[in-house]
Amino acid sequence: MPGKLKAKIVAGRHLPVMDRASDLTDAFVEVKFGNTTFKTDVCPKSLNPQWNSEWFKFEVDDEDLQDEPLQVTVLDHDTYSANDAIGKVYIDIDPLLCNEAASVISGWFPIYDTIHGIRGEINVLVKVELFNDLNRFRQSSCGVKFFCTTSIPRCYRAAMVHGFVEELVVNEDPEYQWIDRIRTPRASNEARQRLISLMSGELQRKIGLKVLEMGGNAVVGYLQCFDLEGESGLVVRAIGTACTLDKLSSGSAPNTATHTHPNTAPASNACNSPSKDGKEPVFGEDLLSSSGPPTPFRALPTSSSSPPPLSPSKPCSRQSSSSDTDLSLTPKTGMGSGGSAGKEAGPLKTLLRQQTQTALEQRGASSSGLLLNAREFPFFTLTSFPPGFLVHVGGVVSARSVKLLDRIHNPALGNTRSYKLLDWNSVTADEPETRDAWWEEIRQEIKSHAKALGCHAVVGYSESTSICEEVCILSASGTAAILNPRYMREGCLDIGIVDHRFEDPSPPSCGFCHIPYDELNMPFPTQLTYCYHCRRQKVPDVLFTTIDLPPEAAVTGKGCLIQARLCRLKKKAQGEVNATAISNLLPFMEYELHTQLMNKLKLRSMNALFGLRIQISIGENMLLGLASATGVYLTALPAPGGIQIAGKTPGDLSNEHHILTIQKRINDTIAKNKEIYQINPPKLFALDPEVFCGTNMELTEEVVGSPIPEPRQRSRLFRSHSESSDEVSELDLSHGKKDAFVLEIDDTDAVEDIHSLLTDATIPTGFNSCNTEIMPGIYNWTSAVQMFTSVRVFRLSNANLTNQGLNKIFTDLCENLLKSFYFKLRSMIPCCLCHLNFTVAVPEEELIQVAVTAVAMTYDKDQTQEKPAEKPITKGCIETEEQLQFPMELCADSSSTNTQLSSKISVSSLERSSPVPDGRSRSLRSTRGFGGSSVTVVKMTPLSFLPGTRIIKYLGIINMFFIRETTSLREEGGVSGFLHSFIAEVFAMVRAHVAALGGNAVVSYSMKECVFMENPNKNQAQCLINVSGDAVICVRETDQEPVPSNIGQTCTSETDGAT
């Protein structure tokens, strides 16, 4: 009995009228946890009832505490008929289980009903008393901290990075159970919400167990996803990076790096950094060596990422997991892709297509005999790293696999409904294994790709799925990289790969660009030049990555969002035929997306992509591909050349003229873009012939009509092709060996392509956009932040159904979305749209859905060009060093100290450059606003930080799943009205939960799922949304003590339930 959960229902307000006769409501509340239910008294005839109940106490297992949410149901008492439910609140009590997070949940929660939306609010107080003898506590995974943030959370330092953790659980989707035919939509939705909540809890607990096994205490970059597979079930899966985090505490004496015990660390000074800059995780070298030894880890016989064996004696009391727990914990390392393929349904069903994005072919490198531990995936979900962590970056690696979802996976059980009814838990028992095997296969592939690039690790790793009917595309991508092994747990990485480069520390501003692979034995043909920054190492001409731009990287000018969009029609088909068709299309799509990206990159005169995310969605009759990335000009890489247009029929005069016009337009665009993005690369190395295209405006004249005399500008795209893709791309490859980067106009399609290239709308002045954490080239954020979500659905008319037409529509859809953001946010100019995250889907045959979540942040225009990092600021040094502790004892090698120091300096100065403060603190909650009670302002951002503030405490992960359904679509304002209010409601519920935890912001917020279905004929619609993020308390950077500030936002003070 390790825990006592206590809940108290204080009051309600704004309840809906449930009794038409009196226009009032007789409300009471049921509080349920596990199988125990308590009720409050009925508060008769009031829309603002005061229950002020006693403390309801639940004595429960800590395992249940992790898995189950507290369920609060508000009902209207009816004497004669059944009580009507008003709505529910699910409260995830996980944050209370971690002694460093929140200590009490107290506040107003929106009462949510899946049919009516928010119906009033309820004030609830929740506490947990853990009987915490710490050892006992450690045995369950309570206390393992979870972060959505994909960098080391501020106010922590990473003592150790253990590596990849993954887990998935499968269950039957209640929506597809037979009982769904007889129960109400509300009951069905609630069953689903509850189940997913349970599964998330379970998943988190299991991952926590793995982390503990590895000796870690936290999961960073936790990414949890749902696969709604329909008939075949519901998969909840998660990946993350296990770490040992130490809380940074400054105490009162800034000069001592003492480690206060997390419990005793006062929230206000948990981190004494005067500021946190956009990207720098607190993580570094403990120069003072005063911190204790890193958390000891247990060396496991097996390695980290495949599920480590757990003690089988661990009782699995969870109702739906009795069997699957054990199964999913079985090490699946022996399962090769071939094996699982055979098991599934023949070769056609397991068509596996993979493609590496920038640069990957198995040639040469794969045979170099690097022996990575076969049972381990050296993957990291982090996208931003402490200085010195990332040594070299190879390029993007990705893998895709088309699978058929089929209930045949449970051959022993058949699929009779009645059987499922009897024991539907066991039906799903087999599935985690299948799904695990699928992912295992893909991860293996990623790993081998990375190996081929001469890299021993994959960073910025993520996984996703797209499901249509019974076909499912599993995708994984990441960036092959070489990491500094000093930060790793022993055995986590294959040290054998370490070569001479480690002894020769590269400057941090360019080191990561240097090629990790062997120059003489390149995995793919590329043009190597000496690094333009240090002149010592070779760099590729173009670099694609999925990670954020390293903060210390030297960048010329500003970055911008680059998107490649593509639609491909596909015949409607079923089953295997469909899967085959899709897998045949995939390589072509990837190729074309890649071409587009490369062209657009060149058009903007940039040479690197960060945060690359390629999404391919399947619909019944089409495939959608969307690649988003942030283009940057890396100073270390050679300048990109222009784009040259060539006609196929040189004799035709009019054609010739046409081509010249286009060529001129392209050159003009390039010149203009250089101006817009302020790309003026230094012309330092005169020996390099390519530097000619620096800033000069003569470029235009110079290039017009003449072939660009650059031998290097061959597109990387020709090199990127999957090992399993057709020879067609091989042919293209040879084509690419011509000297210039040539776009050939041989048919109307090509003309269209070029037009679409040129018609990409320019960003209005005052705006910038990127899809990474921070905008390269902007360093002086001010405090205004506006997070938003936008969803658009376009219905295709039949007339448009050609590939070209579709492409146009899709491109316009995305472009118009961006335009509309610029318009709506015009009052924030100058501002940058950061972390623009596009998600595309084909919900129905003729619908294209695009959902975007991003944040607009203002910056100070005057200083944008200057990256203050270049000048060392001594003042910041001392303080900064203490935060950047890193246990030196981990390794004796201090060769890269210089590197670290210099980057530290840059960090500190960067931090200083965002002076405008904002934010609020927990202490504000006690100050009363006017008019009695008002609402805590909760800021939300998809980034891991809020400009002008520093995070003083992480309160726990927010992971919420909501379903909303309506049978009166027209009355709610049609689909737009319906979804608008639903998204607003989701925001409201997230904010309320954060506020109840005592927080004032959500960082690393993301909307992972937004599934929208409509049936206008029946006047019905349904939508599922899954959001996640980290609840935090942040204070203004300038505030030493959290004090109330910023009158404009002093909308504070929850009415505290206790008072």
């Binding site: 219905r795 509309s820 925001f987």
Partner: protein, 384 residues
């Protein structure tokens, strides 16, 4: 591009004040888009008509969702659905409860009933205010009326606290409620020249001096109903016309008070008897509900035309009177002097003058405000 679905939701609710005003004014989405295009937002931000349309629709949806909350503005501050900074909330509320003078002039003094609501389309046609906007304004009046009806305490303060309105707007609403409750007739042609603000001023005076609330501030409806007792007592003023001595005394008191303060003084002095008679007659009839309703018409119709001139008095005087009236209406002062009917002859000298002065003065004040239009015109200017 016609979207099947198109939404944009910000964590902080984005609201464009211009679009809000268009929405309040009852423009349809397409009309609003037209107005915005003419306004030139597009050039400003390189937007297209599509973008503008989508933005306008989003905003309209947001406003529609907010409208429910605006019915009881206090909710807006502690609702969780929209995160709106407090100063924005204030703007939302203030604008939502703002009304068109032209419209309010039409419904002032009318019963806020379904019947009146049915006539809104006529009013809309007459005033050039869109029907949608008329409905919103009418519903606002009705809502405020209903809420304050059941509240104790000062009317203006109740409105301000309950609807979080500015002092000015709260006073206007108090006037509307007061007029609607007493059903003062304001629609007659002869009263057409008076603006809403004229009436609002009168309402303020009446609330402060003639209602139950003027003497007791904890009664229900204290500021809404006229003090019956007081109206009853006004009958005694007839003595000012019937008794020659008192009339003279009254005249000299009033003249002393007004001498040199109004241009119309001479006329007033010359016509004092008629003037006084007219006003006292009106005052004496106020026990009758019908006559209360016709109060403003009577003031205009049944007092000698020269009253019009009196209106042109210097504003200072008018301000002085206001303060004086307040003093008089404090119960301690009021009742001892007025209550014992009929006043003994010698007492008349001390007490009634105060009172008659007050009544006359009040009328004058009312009339002066009735003719605020005059004030604004040449008479006023030359006076100053």
């Amino acid at each position: 591009m016609a979207m099947e679905l198109d939404v944009f939701v910000g964590n902080t609710t984005i609201m464009d004040e211009e679009v809000y005003q268009l929405w309040l004014d009852g423009y349809t989405v397409s009309d609003a888009v037209k107005v915005r295009m003419e306004g030139g937002v597009m050039e400003e931000c390189e937007a297209s008509a599509d973008v503008l349309l989508s933005d306008t629709m989003d905003q309209y949806r947001t406003f529609q969702m907010c409208e429910r909350l605006l019915y009881s503005p206090a909710k807006l501050a502690n609702q969780l659905l929209f995160q709106i900074p407090p100063h924005r909330q204030a703007i939302l509320i203030e604008r939502y409860y703002a009304f068109d003078d032209a419209f309010v002039r039409e419904v002032l003094g009318k019963k806020l009933s379904k019947g009146t609501k049915k006539d809104l389309d006529d009013i809309s046609a007459k005033t050039n205010v869109t029907l949608k906007s008329c409905r919103r304004q009418f519903d606002n009046f009705k809502r405020v009326f209903k809420v304050v009806e059941e509240l104790k305490g000062p009317l203006v303060e109740n409105i301000r606290q309950h609807f979080l309105l500015s002092d000015k707007l709260a006073r206007d609403y108090a006037a509307i409620v007061f007029f609607a409750n007493n059903r003062f007739e304001t629609g007659k042609r002869k009263l057409q020249y008076l603006t809403f603000q004229d009436f609002a001023f009168c309402a303020g005076q009446l609330i402060n001096n003639w209602t139950v609330g003027a003497v007791d501030n904890m009664v229900e409806d204290m500021d809404v109903d006229l003090d019956k007792e007081f109206l009853q007592e006004l009958k005694e003023l007839k003595i000012l016309i019937t008794d020659k001595d008192l009339l003279d005394q009254h005249k000299s008191l009033v003249c002393t008070a007004l001498r040199g303060k109004t241009k119309a003084f001479n006329e007033m002095e010359a016509n004092f008897k008629n003037l006084s008679r007219g006003l006292v007659n009106i005052a004496a009839k106020l026990t009758n509900t019908k006559d209360v309703r016709d109060f403003f018409i009577d003031l205009v119709e049944k007092t000698p035309s020269c009253v019009g001139q009196i209106h042109g008095r210097h504003q200072k005087l008018y301000l002085q009177n206001v303060s004086r009236l307040k003093r008089i209406s404090s119960p301690a002062y009021f009742f001892p002097c007025l209550s014992p009917p009929p006043p003994p002859a010698d007492a008349v000298i001390s007490a009634p003058p105060v009172r008659t002065f007050s009544v006359f003065d009040l009328s004058a004040v009312i009339i002066s405000s009735l003719s605020a239009s005059l004030l604004e015109s040449s008479v006023c200017k030359s006076d100053l």
